[in-house]
């Protein structure tokens, strides 16, 4: 079958690979009908995730049709159209049982690198390096889905693939960002990053009762899209001082909830931006944290900073003094998709919101390198490239 493989820094290639098989009784095999790029893939592409191997299939946000089921699968059958949560959760360890699916004890067969660096290993993720399990990703014609009774969810007939595919990752990640912040009625919420996750966080904040949602980015066209689809008030970080503007708009207090949806490759300005880039290039820090620092500085006293942008290692000049002396609450985590997906599919079915607009570019797997480069460099208003391994958008 054809699959899009990581082939070194800044390079993906479409290759002929062997088809996946059912390896465990709880697996299903999917014929992938749509698979989206994700901002966190850029960290793989840019070479910041050390346990990637040439030839690894990437992609972790996908919908597909069940073509084979293992002997222990009870909730799915051949022909089901399903969307799959990007973290792999067994459903029965203490963490899954408490709804913290991305911390599953059982799904990562190679936990050692994470145990060394983080102290403990989280769950495996599809197509996201050998430190996160080494499972082949979804930019392929077929994919094996372990623990399918827990991670795959039947898509309602009324939803298109474009509506369903982002429920795999971007939508629950954004939702979890707002959920972790325990938004109260009328809260001012600021979101850093107007990519897919940031925009879905803005949607979630609004649906959970925020009085005002503000979204921050460096790209004017993304901010326009975000304003149009989420109703968020935009701040262009290249034009104004973000912290000052937020202070001005909130009577000097700052937003009570600050959501960081940028992650380890934030583009800082001035001395701070240069400092981060130099240190990252010299491998003296792994993550550039300018948007996280800004969120902490901007956050209201006693507020919550909710981090869903992906960070991988270590960053420098972390303002712990601001966290401590403003009594901030930090929340973070890879998304616990299995906890949110049924509710999110239901909300989309009822028309509360529609994430399909994120799919700005639609391609087949052979255009993988072009699709990723467009996404990386934000060319032509690219919010998300969605690949169709079998060609025909539903």
């Amino acid at each position: 079958m054809k699959a899009l493989c990581w082939s070194g820094t800044n390079r993906v290639t479409t290759q002929e690979v062997s088809e996946p098989k059912i390896l465990n009784g709880q697996d299903v095999l999917l014929r992938v009908t749509a698979s989206s790029v994700c901002g966190s893939d850029l960290h793989l592409l840019d070479g910041y995730v050390p346990t990637m191997h040439r030839g690894d299939i990437i992609g972790h946000e996908f919908v597909g049709e069940v073509v084979d089921v293992g002997s222990e699968v009870r909730r799915h059958q051949v022909g089901d159209r399903v969307v799959v949560a990007s973290p792999i959760g067994c459903g029965r360890c203490t963490f899954c049982a408490e709804g913290m699916w991305s911390l599953c004890d059982n799904s990562n067969p190679h936990p050692v690198p994470e145990e060394i660096v983080y102290g403990h290993a989280g769950s495996a993720l599809f197509g996201y390096s050998h430190a996160f399990g080494g499972y082949p990703g979804s930019h392929a014609e077929y994919i094996r889905v372990p623990y399918a009774d827990y991670g795959a969810f039947t898509v309602p007939e009324t939803l298109t693939d474009e509506q369903a595919v982002f429920v795999s990752d971007a939508v629950p990640t954004g939702w979890m960002a707002a959920d972790m912040a325990e938004i109260q009625h009328g809260d001012v919420v600021a979101v850093w990053g107007a990519g897919g996750v940031g925009q879905m966080a803005a949607v979630a904040a609004r649906l959970l009762g925020a009085g005002e949602v503000i979204i921050i980015d460096r790209l004017g066209d993304r901010l326009d899209v975000a304003q149009r689809h989420t109703g968020a008030r935009p701040i262009n970080a290249t034009e104004v001082d973000v912290v000052d503007t937020l202070r001005t708009w909130t009577g000097g207090r700052g937003p009570r909830v600050c959501i960081e949806a940028v992650g380890m490759e934030a583009s800082g300005h001035g001395v701070e931006g240069v400092y981060d880039r130099v240190k990252q290039t010299l491998r003296l820090e792994s993550d550039r944290g300018s948007s996280l620092r800004q969120a902490i500085r901007a956050c209201r006293k006693g507020g919550t900073v909710s981090i869903v942008g992906v960070f991988g290692g270590f960053l420098d000049k972390f303002p712990i003094g601001a966290v401590m002396n403003k009594a901030l609450t930090l929340r973070s985590g890879q998304q616990h998709g299995q906890r949110y997906i049924p509710m999110l599919l239901d909300r989309i079915s009822r028309g509360e919101f529609d994430p399909a607009y994120l799919a700005t570019h639609k391609m087949n797997l052979a255009d993988g390198q072009r699709g990723y480069q467009m996404f990386k460099h934000k060319v032509d208003g690219c919010l998300r490239t969605v690949f169709y391994p079998h060609g025909t958008p539903r």
Binding site: L23, Q26, G55, C90, T94, N106, P136
Partner: protein
């Protein structure tokens, strides 16, 4: 006769590398000595009550019972009351106590050991071998 005045940087780097290697060997040897003396311990929490893992309160049931040939196993309830803490201590250097305990936990909790391909889908370069080597060595308690 080696003239150390020529290329002093090069000789300095070589000397530092050599000292690093010696220090590494000493640290590993001391670690092995400690392991041989005290044994290697690894613990997991299994999301089952203690009574399910020990049939009559002390007799281990499979798959934990299968580990007793290589390790001493103790099972206690967790402090928060959800699940059981299982501790395995072994003196056998070649026994992969971490892997065995993780597999046992998976079988108890999910009914099977999850299989995942280590090789990349397209081809297997040196990195794959290094990952496998690192996993194996660290799983068995270090090299």
């Amino acid at each position: 006769m080696v003239d150390f005045r020529k290329r002093p940087m090069r000789w300095g780097v070589m000397a530092a590398s050599g000292a690093g290697c010696v220090a590494g060997v000493v640290v590993m040897a001391r670690r092995r000595g400690r392991i041989a003396e005290k044994g290697r311990a690894y613990g997991v929490v299994i999301n089952r009550p203690r009574e399910e893992l020990c049939s009559d309160g002390s007799q281990l049931t499979p798959p934990l019972a299968n580990l007793t040939e290589h390790a001493r196993i103790t099972v206690t309830p967790t402090a928060e009351g959800r699940g059981s803490q299982v501790l395995a201590v072994t003196h056998e250097r070649s026994f992969d106590v971490r892997g065995a305990l993780r597999s046992a936990k998976q079988i108890v909790e999910t009914g099977e050991v999850l299989r995942a391909p280590l090789e990349p889908a397209a081809r297997g370069p040196v990195g794959t071998w290094l990952t496998r080597y690192g996993d194996r060595m660290l799983s068995s308690g270090g090299w």
